[in-house]
């Protein structure tokens, strides 16, 4: 925690994420309007003191929809990365710990997954399923575990023959104990960094899918589908496209800053370089 506070990048990222998470969690208490309330008397109003970010084509308050959209983006990002990280840790640990043919099979699977264009893969899967938040999370999670797997495997391979691991193995520690008490805790730093960076890209993917109409479905608000509406009205309602894009940009930047900052702060090699 100290390391984060001393690193200005990480601190900036952490603050951005904290503010956005706060607004997302307390959205129902902060929002001045019901995000789904259609009001024909207030269609496409430009930003004002009543409607901070204006209103959309159905007269809904954009600021309220943005706050509820934040919930979706963060939820999808975190759950998708959670799924990917769990798969990555399990496969990477098996691969790096047991090596041999299991390792070969898992690494070939990673190669195969990496040679299918990810966005094509995600869209193809979605074509066979019904788009819903849960499906989106699962699909993004199932298509983004390869990086973590390689990372965990590499960490395990390099830690496996270190003295402290060999020592406890000699003392009769079981494989399970070695994995969970020795290897995994010592691999946590790069896993955390890659998960934080992973949330950033998951948020981008989700908003892209929703923008294309294949992610979160209307009337549920998401930053991506507010932008889709914005595209329709781009000639006379700039606020509909400007704010969701900025929100995505700032959120993704927050996670990237935190991730890179953490990497610098926690990794002695890069922090000496600076």
């Amino acid at each position: 925690m100290n390391a984060i506070i001393k690193n200005p990048l990480a601190l900036a990222g952490l603050m951005i994420i904290a503010i956005i998470s706060f607004m997302a969690i307390f959205a129902p208490l902060i929002t001045p309007f019901d995000p789904d309330a259609i009001n024909v008397k207030s269609i496409l109003l430009s930003p004002s003191s009543a409607h901070w970010m204006g209103t959309d084509g159905l007269g809904r308050d954009v600021y309220s929809r943005m706050l509820f959209g934040a919930r979706i983006s963060l939820l999808v990002g975190i759950v998708a990365v959670g799924i990917a990280t769990v798969i990555g840790i399990v496969l990477g640990a098996i691969s790096g710990f047991y090596r041999g043919w299991v390792d070969t099979v898992i690494m070939r699977l990673v190669d195969v997954m990496l040679s299918i264009p990810t966005f094509f893969l995600i869209l193809a899967v979605i074509a066979f399923l019904t788009p819903s938040i849960w499906n989106i999370m699962i699909v993004i999670g199932l298509t983004s575990w390869m990086g973590v797997t390689r990372l965990v495997r590499a960490e395990f391979l390099s830690l496996r023959n270190r003295e402290f691991v060999l020592a406890s193995q000699t003392l009769g520690a079981t494989d399970r104990r070695l994995i969970f008490k020795q290897l995994l805790p010592n691999s946590l730093t790069p896993i955390i960094v890659s998960s934080v960076l992973g949330i950033a890209s998951a948020v981008l993917v989700e908003s892209g899918l929703s923008f294309l109409g294949l992610g979160v479905q209307a009337p549920q608000a998401s930053w991506g589908n507010i932008l889709t509406d914005g595209k329709e009205y781009i000639e006379f309602a700039w606020w509909l496209s400007l704010f969701p894009g900025l929100a995505i940009l700032i959120t993704v930047m927050g996670y990237n800053l935190l991730g890179e900052g953490l990497r610098d702060a926690l990794d002695p090699r890069t922090s000496n370089n600076k």
Partner: protein, 339 residues
Amino acid sequence: MLKYLMNRLLWMVPLLVGISLISFLIMHLAPGDITSTEASFNPKTSEESRQKLRELYHLDKPVIVQYGLWLKRMSTLDFGRSFASHQSPVFWQETDKDGNITKGMIQEALPVTLLINVLSLSLIIAMALPLGVISALTQNKLPDRSITIFVFIGFAIPSFWLALMLMYWTGVSHNWLPISGLHSLGAEKMPWLAQWIDGLKHLTLPILISGLTGLAGISLFVRNGMLDVLHQDYITTARAKGLSENTVVYKHALRNALLPLITIFGLSIPGLIGGSVIAESIFAIPGMGKLFYDAVLMRDFPVIMGILTIGSALTLIGNLLADLAYAWADPRVRKGVVQ
């Protein structure tokens, strides 16, 4: 070199088998058989089209037979006919009785996507190299700091939003550039030079978008690569020999820093191909991405599976080319000294 090439080619076989397995798995992901999800999605689906799907993927046969038939389909690139246009999704063009030629859907779309990607890759190289080098040479000073901020924004900016904003700015409010399609109306009647300029104008925005969003990663990579190399002993030696700073930086350092870039380009191919979905559907450009997007919206499964396969094959070919280029540039790899 030949041995290296053979090795790399053999290496692709298990990958292709893996890809066929994953795509087969996708077809069976849907709960029940895929025909039922399609039906629940689109109320217009008739019993007839469900029957078509069942026939297409032999859903009434045992799973192992289905996979065998799927593997056969994939290896002959025969994915069945598009449900929507009845064209064949992949390359083969056909001539009917009256001599009319119907092209395969990917045959028509692929060159467009390749052109856009090659041009945007060139743009990325042209801009990322100087940015990365400047950044490394002015480490932690103002130019480096500003480029780093630019890189962070580049990483975080959603390409579809950038596309919308540029579209609004250059197309709607200033009317500088066309914002959709590949040609203006009546372009085929223009002289060839005007046609060419017209096409280029239509491509400007899509190329800018994928160029600008891909730029950040590459320039950061060049920067870190340069910093790494500049701290090596042979650079100190070069300086100690009294070589000019320019010779040291551009002849000794940059060339070595650029080597890994070849691999990075190879690795960025699937991202570029996948990314074409967003750019092409926003600007209504008839490439692979748009074709794929439309197919997903219409649940046109033969086209979806065809593009997924071709897209993966392209990635494999791209990686192969990158590896060959690396082996060509670095004798250590070619001779098997380092992996």
